[in-house]
Symmetry: C2
Subunit: 414 residues, 2 copies
C-alpha cells in the first residue's frame, strides 16, 4: 500500500500532483543564499483544513497565528486557503516584533491573493530568538504567487528542510467506495524531535471531500499514533505544526458523519502516510544510524505502556548502546525502572528482535548473546517489552545517539 | 568552610580518619583484576544509621536488602554496623539468584563479625543483569575483616569507582556548642546520574551523637537539595544508595529533639559535604567538560522551578550547545517551553553568568553575544532563569554532552 519517495527522483518520472493544490518555492535569503527557503501551498476554493500544533508554552508567533485560525475554524465555501512556510528562522521568542512580522506578511499575502487574512496560515522553522526578516519575505510574495504550479510539491519539500539530509515526501491512492482518492504529504524535521510535536512540520493534502470536523478529528488521532510517537532527542520544539487539507476535488459525497463507513479506509491511509513521514524523520534524525521500534505490551494501561516506551527510547544510555551495537539490555531494565510506572521485575520479558532476553526477573535461560549482537548490526531494530501485568500497549520509534549528533548540535545553531 | 580533597594526596599527609569507623578494601576480582573492587566499613557499637535509596522500580537485590534494614530500623546499643560495597557488578535484575547471593554474603559477613544479619548492609554498582560472583566475595571476607583500619578511607573511595576518573572524598570539622564534630563522606558515580539517586553511592560518617530519627530526617532533606539535584544524563540507576552513620564517639549530649538548636549547624555541614560530593560527581560526569549550575527563580512553586530547571539541564540540545560553547539561548527557551510548567514568555529573564539574555519575550536590548561567548568558555557556568510569576525557586547542577560521553557509553558496558 505505502509508497516511499526515492531520495533522488529521476527527471523522467511524473511529478506528484494533487488536484486542487498548487505549489511554489524560492530562495528569499532568510538564512540560506543557495537554496529555496520559502514555500507556498495554495488550496482551491472548497478546501477544508485541519491542524495540530506544538504543546510548547514558548511556541512561535507563526504557530500562534495558525493555531488561532484552526481553533476558530468556520466553514465557508467562497475562499481558497494559502499556507506560507519559511525555513532558517523559527520566529520564536521574538516578542511583539515577531507577532507584528506575521501580521505584515499575512496582510501582504492575503492582499496579493485577494482573500481574507483568516485564510492564510504560516509556519516557520529554524533558529529561535532571531527576528524574522519579514521584508525579505514580503518582497518575494508576488514572485512566489506567480510561480504556483501543480508540479512543485517536491521543491516545497526541499524548501522547508533545516538539518534534514533529504526531503520527506510520500503519497498514496486509495479507493473509497468507487472513488479513487489521493493523499500527499511532505514533512521536515531531524532534531528537537519528541512527542507533542517537534521541530517538525508536515503538510498533508487529499483531494477527498471531507468535512473540517471529521478531518480535524482524524488528524488528531492519527498524529497521536505517528508524529507524536517518535523521538530523536526528547526535545520539543517551539514551532511544530501538522496541517491537513482536503481539496474536495473528487466527485464524491462529503464524508461528514462519524458513522460514514468510508472513514476507516481514509483514516488508515492518513495514518499510514503520517507514519511513513514520521519514520523518515527519525531515520533522518540528527546523527542517527539506526531506526528502533519500541513496542511495550502488557502494561497496566496504554498510557503506562507509552511512558515506559518513551523512557526507553529517550534514555541516552540505551541510545548509545544501540549506536555501539551492544545488546546491553541492563540499560533497558534501568529505563523501565526509572519510568515510575508499575511493573513486577519477575514478569518482564524483553525481546530484541526474535531473541528473548529476560524472563523471571533475570537473563533468560536460553539467551543467545551472539545472535542478539548479530541482530543489532541491522539498521532497523525492534525491541519489545512485555510487562506481563495488563493489556496496555504502545509503539514508539526512536533512533540511536552518535558522535555525529554531538557534532551537528555543538556546531550548528538550530 | 568546605574542604575538597586534592585528587592526588601526598604520602606525608595525614590520612582522613573518623573516630568509631574503620575501613578495608581489596581486590576480589569481581570484574577487575588490577584494582580493589570490594570495601568494608565497620561502625562501632553505639552508631546510628540512616539511608536514602533509588526510586527505581527495577532496584537491585543489594538495595532491597539494605533498604529493608533502614525501614525497619530499631535502636539498639549492643551491636556495631558493617557496610559491604562491591563495584563491577550491580546485582540488579538477577532474579531469585541475586537475592540468594545477598543472603549468602550477609550470612557469611555477619557470622565472621559475630553480629546479627540485621546489622550488615550491602551496596553494589556496575553491570546490570549479570550474576554476582558471590563465592569470590565470601572467600575474601576474612581477609577484608583482618584489613580493617582507621586509615583506609581513601582506599575505600577507590574501590567503589566504576567509570569514575577519580575518587570522591571530602571531610570537614564543625563546632556544635563546644564540641568539635567531624563529618567524612565518600562517593562514586559518573553516568546514569539523574534525580531520585543515580548510579551513585555515597557513604557519610560523623562522630556526632545523633538519634537515628533525626539523622534519617536530615539525610532525606539534604539529599533532596544535593544528590537528587544533579543530572549527568537523565538516566536513573537501579543501585543508588546514600548511607549516613553517626558513631557517637564525641562526648556530647545526643541530638534527638527537633528543637535542638545544634541541628541547624550540623544540617548545614551535612548538606555542604553532600553538595561537594554531588558536584564532584557531575564534574566527573561521563565525558563532561563543564559543570553548570541552573538556577530557576520566580516560578509558580518550588516544584515547578525544579521541573523547569531539570528540563533545561537534561535537554540534549542545551547540553550540546554548552559543549560547543555556543550561547544558543533559543534552546533554553525551547527547554522551558517543553517543561509543561506555567510561564508567560514576556516575563522570562534568562541570565548566562552576568549577561542578561532575554527580556520582554525576546532578546534583551543590550544583549552582548561576544561577552556571553567569552563567559561560556569557562569550566564552571551559571545559568539563571527568572520566570517572573511567583516565588518558586530551585537549583540543580548538570554538565555538557560531549563526543566522549558517546565513546564511553557505546563501548563500556555499564
Amino acid at each position: 500500500m505505502g509508497f516511499r519517495m526515492k531520495k533522488s527522483k529521476k527527471s523522467n518520472e511524473d511529478p506528484i500532483k494533487l488536484s486542487g493544490a498548487t505549489f511554489s518555492a524560492l530562495c528569499a535569503e532568510i538564512k540560506y543564499k543557495d537554496r529555496a527557503d520559502l514555500m507556498l501551498i495554495y488550496l482551491d476554493v472548497g478546501s477544508t483544513l485541519a491542524g495540530v500544533f506544538t504543546k510548547s508554552s514558548t511556541q512561535s508567533a507563526s504557530v500562534k497565528w495558525s493555531r488561532k485560525i484552526i481553533e476558530n475554524y468556520r466553514n465557508r465555501d467562497d475562499e481558497p486557503y494559502a499556507i506560507l512556510v519559511n525555513s532558517g528562522n523559527a520566529n520564536a521568542f521574538t516578542g511583539q516584533k515577531g507577532h507584528d512580522s506575521v501580521q505584515y506578511i499575512m496582510e501582504s499575502l492575503s492582499g496579493a491573493l485577494g482573500i481574507s487574512r483568516e485564510s492564510v496560515l504560516m509556519a516557520s522553522t529554524g533558529v529561535i530568538g532571531e527576528d524574522l526578516p519579514y521584508k525579505k519575505i514580503i518582497a518575494v510574495i508576488p514572485k512566489l504567487i506567480r510561480g504556483l504550479s501543480l508540479k512543485k510539491i517536491e521543491a516545497c519539500s526541499r524548501a522547508i528542510m533545516t538539518t534534514d539530509t533529504y526531503p520527506k515526501l510520500c503519497h498514496k491512492k486509495i479507493k473509497l467506495n468507487d472513488d479513487i482518492v489521493t493523499i500527499v504529504g511532505l514533512a521536515k524535521g531531524s532534531g528537537m524531535i519528541a512527542p507533542n510535536m517537534a521541530t517538525m512540520l508536515a503538510f498533508i493534502m487529499t483531494d477527498a471531500k471531507i468535512s473540517q470536523e471529521i478531518l480535524q478529528k482524524l488528524t488528531r488521532s492519527s498524529c497521536e499514533k505517528t508524529f507524536n510517537s517518535i523521538t530523536v532527542d526528547s526535545d520539543t520544539s517551539t514551532s511544530d505544526m501538522v496541517l491537513v487539507a482536503a481539496t474536495s476535488k473528487v466527485n464524491m459525497s462529503t464524508i461528514e458523519k462519524n458513522s460514514d463507513h468510508r472513514i476507516k479506509n481514509f483514516s488508515d491511509a492518513l495514518e499510514s502516510i503520517m507514519k511513513d513521514l514520521a519514520l523518515e524523520i527519525v531515520r533522518d534524525g540528527e546523527g542517527a544510524s539506526k531506526l528502533v521500534e519500541y513496542q511495550v505490551v502488557g502494561a497496566m494501561s496504554d498510557s503506562s505502556a507509552r511512558k515506559i516506551a518513551f523512557s526507553i527510547a529517550n534514555s541516552p544510555l540505551v541510545k548509545t548502546a544501540i549506536a555501539g551495537e551492544d545488546p546491553n539490555w541492563g540499560r533497558i531494565v534501568m529505563a523501565i525502572g526509572k519510568s515510575g510506572e508499575r511493573i513486577e521485575q519477575e514478569r518482564i520479558v524483553i525481546h530484541i528482535g526474535q531473541n528473548i532476553i529476560t524472563q523471571q526477573g533475570r537473563v533468560a535461560v536460553n539467551y543467545d548473546e551472539e545472535s542478539t549482537k548479530k541482530y543489532m548490526r541491522k539498521t532497523d531494530l525492534n525491541i519489545k517489552v512485555d510487562i506481563g501485568l495488563g493489556n496496555g500497549e504502545s509503539r514508539v520509534w526512536g533512533c540511536d545517539f552518535t558522535k555525529k549528533y554531538i557534532e551537528i548540535n555543538a556546531d550548528y545553531r538550530s
